[in-house]
């Protein structure tokens, strides 16, 4: 195999849930694979190859993103928030509690992404209408619940 002349590894520094990680990564590595494989933060999930499902949703510098649609090197210097950072110690966030109370999860695979999308929504809009909740979650696929209980949970957390 001929080796490429282009350097494929790059040093990045990313702060995730308050901890700063300095790592060498392949330039093509997706942020989601960096989080899951390199940092072992496996709470964010992968459900598709195409950016449709939202299971990998995280918040980067305050903006909700699908971490499969971003390269790890693009997050160099960024502050990333994932589902692992939502609870304060043993104290679940209001949204996490509402998801349990309203049975807004079954298998729990979409839940981390769903929680991140809802967290971003409630930060930007603490009192969303039903329609605004639906719009905010349209990028997250759930195959278990039919979404109805998720809408209820987000509404309850907003109240």
């Amino acid at each position: 195999m001929a080796t490429s002349a282009v350097p494929t590894e790059r040093a990045i520094s990313v702060t995730v849930n308050g901890t700063t990680y300095d790592r060498e990564v392949e330039a093509r590595k997706l942020l989601i694979h960096f989080l899951r494989d390199d940092l072992d933060l496996t709470g964010s999930h992968i459900g598709c190859d195409t950016g449709n499902c939202g299971a990998c949703s995280v918040i980067v510098d305050g903006t909700l993103v699908k971490s499969c649609m971003l390269l790890a090197v693009q997050a160099d210097g960024a502050r990333v928030e994932t589902v692992e950072g939502l609870a304060a110690g043993d104290e679940l966030s209001k949204l996490q509690q509402a998801f349990t109370a309203h049975h807004a999860l079954q298998c729990g695979y979409c839940t981390p992404g769903m929680l991140m999308s809802a967290t971003a929504l409630l930060r930007a809009n603490p009192s969303p209408s039903d329609d605004e909740i639906r719009k905010a979650l349209q990028g997250n696929i759930c195959r278990c619940t039919g979404y109805w209980n998720i809408f209820e949970a987000v509404k309850a957390a907003a109240e």
């Binding site: 933060l41 049975h103 079954q106 195959r143 979404y147 209980n149």
Partner: protein, 821 residues
């Protein structure tokens, strides 16, 4: 009826039961924090990542495979080809009788590919990316062949044969006939003939794809398979003989599974490839399926045609009998098939009193992905067909579909009801369920709403659908497919033990994917041991090492509330009796009858001061047992195998009880069609459920909601569409549109509880009620078109363009003839 409520937290002083309460789920604590352990989360030092090289052709001979360039890639650990697989393994056991029995199916393609996406070579490398890169270096030469994608033409003259060993594309056929068809058609006033109905190909697309991490222990020759396969009992009996090893060599481990819906039953070919690679490369190997690979190759639901259907009916709408030719498209391999050829017979008459039924069932191979169970497996297709006949008959005879249903429903007082083929419906009240559903959508206001919609330029339609969610299979039904098979009955296992410090620890054989087994099992245990559910620790997932599994262990086919909880109840009652026996000895020879469990221990009924906490019981037996009587038969570690009461069905008559319980659902959909475009909105929707006693109503309602959402997705958007060359046109979530948050209509739910007389808790397995929704939408479309051309809905998939076509050209609907008998 429509809202979900959370019960206040119970204290152990309260004498109420835990069963029936909406206790919060035990699973949620870890899942809302991203602390679940799904298969792709499992890592091992030095593991290699597997990538499968897949066929770009639907049908082709493989003329050469060269992996040398891939093997030279610096990050590659090794490869596996079909040639090696054929040398190291035997073909998978086939369920079918001849000719399907002759199909040779291996973990990788051998000599030929039969569908686009079929795995041909596995490449293992240091990273996921390197494995994909190196896969590009595998050189495969093909000699393309014509593809068969339409089951109706799979047996035409001159079409290519997919499996030469089977001598043609017929996989299985059988005739089912019960009652007296000639008499039924002679008695009929009218015969309604329907040329073709089609149940389309889709599946539930769990958000987590298939996967495994496999380790090989060379010293003992054993594999540990961390996986999300949802039916390890089945995987084991497929894999062991193929790999020429005993089942003791296959340890299956699961924890959290990201949805299954039946689609994760047939990953055994990939698991075998993983096992062979772990042994060959002497390192752990990891496989996580890509979404596109899942769509291309895994577990499509059974596509079925109903041809030349004839319905015998009286002028008043009394249904006498029907005959049809069911044609099932199995795809390229029989991975669980042809069981779909008999599973439907669990619900032969649907909810109705048909007495005379003939189904000529044929299953053929095509160059499409193999089918395998999908939520509502095979019953959904048949129930859709049954409901289709009802609405077509009502349409043709000018009758009210509600009245036709009520006239023909099996009635509450008929329960338990024996169907024409010997199945026993345990309990239920379908008419009452329909009344509730109609009330929820304010059916009496319908005429007014139709007029309001018309004034707004919309066509309003209302439709009804039903599901009989038959649960707890009698695997003896497999003998109707192949009399040689030695399967029958069913089983599930649980262990419950009391450990040294009084911990109550439960293990199950099941593999839940969101069904909340940890929670509901705790509720059953806590009621028997008179403790709090917080005191009950149910291990997550499945592990062969727990010795809490049997041949049919897994989570599939609506059975946990019967088999799983039956096992939990049995094991817990054994433990309770042992605790009482032990306490009797400790108290100096007190009979068990004088003792009772309460507050996390045992006490004398007459003297509550005499109290022995569970902790003391656990400590005595496990760590402080000197001096106990020799004949004290107490281990405080109890294993119970639940076995439902079944007989082997009569193979000749195809007669017998095929499932133990029959949960039921009735759905009603109200839609409004825009005639300009054919697009439609579901403006009102009701789902009414009856699954007997509900252990946790909120969890039951969650299953109802989920099944409904999947039904609506399937009815309107989801379809695995192939072109004539066998290319899948919907291989990812761009093209395969699953419902999103904005797609969800308003939903109203209702329920009744008809306890099963056949189960120890009065429960029925449930969760697969979605088929009702598919039909409800079909019937609503047909109703809306009734005064606008009157097209008859013939397909279970009704995307907007199809509705537009039927509006503009009613001949695009089913062709129906009515004749005087």
């Amino acid at each position: 009826m429509t809202s979900t409520t959370i019960a206040p937290e119970k204290t152990e002083q309260q004498q109420e039961e835990w069963k029936g309460q909406n206790v919060p789920r035990k699973e949620d604590w870890r899942l809302v924090q991203g602390q679940g352990v799904f298969v792709d989360d499992v890592k091992r030092h030095g593991m290699g990542y597997i990538h499968f090289v897949r066929s770009p052709y639907a049908h082709a001979h493989i003329t050469s495979i060269d992996v040398s360039k891939a093997e030279e890639h610096p990050a590659v650990y090794g490869t596996l080809t079909g040639e090696e697989v054929a040398a190291l393994t035997d073909p998978f056991f086939q369920i079918s009788s001849v000719p399907g029995a002759n199909v040779k199916d291996y973990a990788l393609a051998v000599g030929k590919v039969r569908f686009v996406g079929e795995p041909i070579v596995a490449v293992v490398a240091e990273t996921r990316e390197a494995a994909r890169d190196a896969s590009e270096l595998v050189e495969i030469e093909y000699e393309p062949l014509d593809a068969i994608t339409d089951a109706r033409h799979a047996r035409d003259e001159g079409v290519p044969t997919i499996h030469e060993d089977a001598g043609g594309n017929l996989m299985w056929e059988g005739v089912y006939e019960w009652g007296d068809l000639d008499a039924a058609f002679a008695e009929a006033d009218k015969v309604v003939k329907i040329d073709e109905l089609h149940f389309h190909r889709f599946n539930s697309t769990p958000l987590e794809c298939d996967g495994a991490l496999v380790e090989y222990n060379r010293g003992v020759g054993q594999w540990t398979i961390h996986t999300n396969n949802q039916f390890p009992g089945f995987a084991a009996i497929m894999m062991g003989p193929a790999m020429r090893v005993g089942l003791d060599k296959l340890r299956f481990v699961t924890q959290d599974i990201g949805g299954g819906f039946g689609n994760k039953i047939t990953s055994h070919p990939q698991l075998v490839a993983c096992c062979l690679l772990a042994r060959k490369l002497n390192r752990p190997v990891q496989w996580t399926e890509w979404r596109t690979d899942f769509h291309l190759s895994m577990s499509h639901g059974n596509e079925r045609w109903f041809l030349e259907t004839e319905v015998a009916v009286k002028n008043d709408g009394t249904l006498l009998g029907f005959r049809t030719k069911a044609l099932d498209d199995a795809g390229a391999y029989l991975r669980y098939e042809p069981l779909g050829g008999v599973i439907w017979a669990q619900v032969t008459p649907g909810m109705y009193k048909w007495q005379h039924v003939r189904v000529d069932f044929t299953q053929v191979a095509t160059n499409k992905a193999p089918v395998s169970p999908n939520r509502g497996y095979s019953r959904m297709q048949h129930l859709w067909f049954t409901e289709r006949m009802i609405d077509i008959v009502a349409h043709e005879l000018g009758l009210d579909p509600v009245e036709v249903r009520k006239r023909n429903f099996i009635k509450a007082e008929d329960m338990p009801y024996t169907t024409p083929n010997g199945c026993v419906y345990d309990s239920g009240d379908y008419a009452k369920m329909l009344d509730i559903a109609l009330e929820l959508v304010e059916y009496e206001r319908l005429a007014g709403r139709r007029a309001e919609a018309a004034a707004a330029g919309k066509l309003l339609g209302v439709g009804i659908g039903s599901t009989l969610d038959s649960g707890t299979n009698n695997f003896g039904q497999s003998r109707l497919i192949n009399p040689e098979l030695q399967f029958s009955g069913n089983n599930e296992v649980a262990t419950v033990k009391l450990d040294i410090f009084g911990e109550i620890v439960v293990t199950l054989g099941t593999t839940p994917q969101g069904q909340s087994h940890e929670t509901t099992a705790s509720q059953v245990v806590a009621d028997i041991l008179k403790c709090s559910i917080e005191d009950v620790h149910v291990r997550s997932g499945h592990d062969s090492y727990w010795n809490s599994h049997a041949g049919f262990s897994g989570t599939y086919a609506s059975q946990f509330a019967v088999t799983g909880l039956g096992a939990v109840k049995g094991a817990t009652e054994m433990l309770r009796d042992e605790i009482l026996k032990l306490a009797g000895v400790v108290f100096g020879g007190v009979p068990a009858e004088a003792l009772e469990l309460a507050g996390g221990g045992v006490r004398m009924k007459e003297n509550h001061e005499a109290f022995l906490p569970f902790m003391a019981c656990g400590a005595i037996i496990n760590a402080n047992n000197a001096g106990l009587p020799e004949d004290l038969d107490v281990t405080l570690n109890c294993r119970y195998v639940y076995r439902p009461p079944f007989e082997v069905p009569d193979v000749e008559r195809k007669y017998g009880n095929l499932t133990l319980t029959y949960a039921a659902q009735i759905h009603v959909a109200v839609i409004e069609i825009d005639p300009e475009t054919g697009s439609y909105d579901i403006v009102d929707y009701a789902a009414v459920d009856d699954c007997g006693k509900r252990i946790n109503p909120q969890i039951v309602e969650g299953q109802v909601m989920g099944a409904t959402a999947q039904a609506l997705g399937a009815a309107v958007h989801e379809s695995f569409v192939y072109d004539e060359d066998g290319n899948l046109l919907t291989p990812n979530f761009y093209d395969y549109h699953v419902p999103h948050a904005l797609d969800m209509p308003p939903l109203k739910t209702g329920y009744i509880e008809s306890p099963s007389p056949f189960t120890s808790l009065g429960t029925k397995g449930m969760g697969e009620g979605g088929g009702a929704g598919i039909h409800a939408v079909c019937a609503a479309v047909q109703d809306a078109l009734r005064e606008h051309g009157g097209a008859i809905v013939w397909d279970s998939s009704n995307p907007y363009h199809r509705v537009w076509e039927m509006l503009n050209d009613p001949s695009k609907g089913a062709h129906v003839q009515v004749s005087e008998a």
